[in-house]
Amino acid sequence: MITVLVNDVPRPAERDETVAELLAVLEVPRRGVAVAVNGEVVRRADWPAHRLTDGDRVEVLTAAQGG
């Protein structure tokens, strides 16, 4: 197991878990969501291939009310 930080909260993850797998575990809706890992945007098309490593900082963002 590895530990990744999802929106600053530590979470266990499988070794070589992909972004797509992490989002599935978190039950994140696919629509209207964007992901950055260690400050770099990971595009939707790359979610299934992008593998996480221990200590990765993952930002999972979605629509919020705002002017």
Partner: protein
């Protein structure tokens, strides 16, 4: 009357752009958006919150509006550019309301970072709508970079102070060819009408509606104010005079 508003290659029927920030509930937001008749609506990008009420995107889809993601809360060009790219991935749109804030008390833009971010995003293929100050020179620089519009603040975000420097808004309208959208500071309907009378092509507001005691009534007022201001701007107003000019002819007055 056919008076379409062309922005970023899209023709809009409404010249009122609404923000979603500040609404007390999604139901209240949906009613206000429908009452205002907006076709372009801003959204922010924030960390996913399992406890937050879901459904904002569904509400906006039901209202049939086009999304305008913003970079609210960004203080550097780098943060704003990264946020814009995330928004493009999340919402499948190249449109971005570019905000690069320079000061947390006034929330006014940081001109240097704003220009840097605008240049990068135009280069990356975005339709960039920058929130800017009421400085005509900065507005021209943004337009020259290829921004699809310039969006000067009438007054600080959420202040409700209205259009604090009407002269500069008029100068901005003269300085650029792209659309000018009055963004931020609107408090009530007369502010929106004034912005349109000054020559703005559209008005963007959020708090004035979402934080009004009756958001639906205020959204309705804003819809009418923008239409009224636009019509007045095109109607050729009478010149200001220091003395009266009778509208009733003096000839034929009865003699007693």
């Amino acid at each position: 009357m056919d008076d379409r508003f062309d922005l970023g290659g899209v023709a809009f029927g409404s010249r009122l752009i609404l923000g979603t920030g500040g609404a007390s509930s999604l139901q209240s937001l949906e009613q206000a958006l429908l009452a205002g008749g907006a076709e372009l609506v801003t959204v922010a990008l924030r960390r996913i919150d399992p406890d937050a009420p879901a459904g904002l995107l569904e509400v906006l889809e039901r209202c049939g509006v086009r999304l305008l993601p913003n970079t609210a809360g960004c203080y550097t060009a780098a943060d704003a550019v990264r946020t814009a790219h995330l928004a493009r991935d999340a919402f499948e749109t190249d449109w971005i309301k570019l905000e690069v804030i320079g000061d947390d008390r006034t929330l006014l833009p940081d001109a240097v970072e704003l220009l840097r971010a605008a240049e990068r995003l135009v280069g990356d293929g975005f339709t960039v709508l920058p929130y800017t100050t009421d400085d005509p020179v900065l507005a021209r620089r943004l337009a020259d970079l290829g921004c699809a519009a310039v969006m000067p603040a009438g007054a600080p975000i959420g202040s409700g102070l209205g259009v604090s420097n009407p002269h500069h808004i008029r100068l901005i309208r003269e300085a650029v060819r792209c659309p000018v959208i009055l963004d931020a500071g609107i408090g009530t309907a007369s502010d929106a009408a004034l912005a349109m009378e000054l020559g703005c092509d559209a008005v963007l507001l959020a708090s004035a509606v979402t934080r009004a005691a009756d958001p639906v009534a205020m959204a309705t007022a804003m819809r009418h104010a923008v239409i009224a201001g636009r019509l007045a701007a095109q109607a050729g107003r009478i010149p200001l005079r220091h003395h009266a000019l009778a509208s009733t002819k003096p000839e034929g007055l009865a003699s007693w």
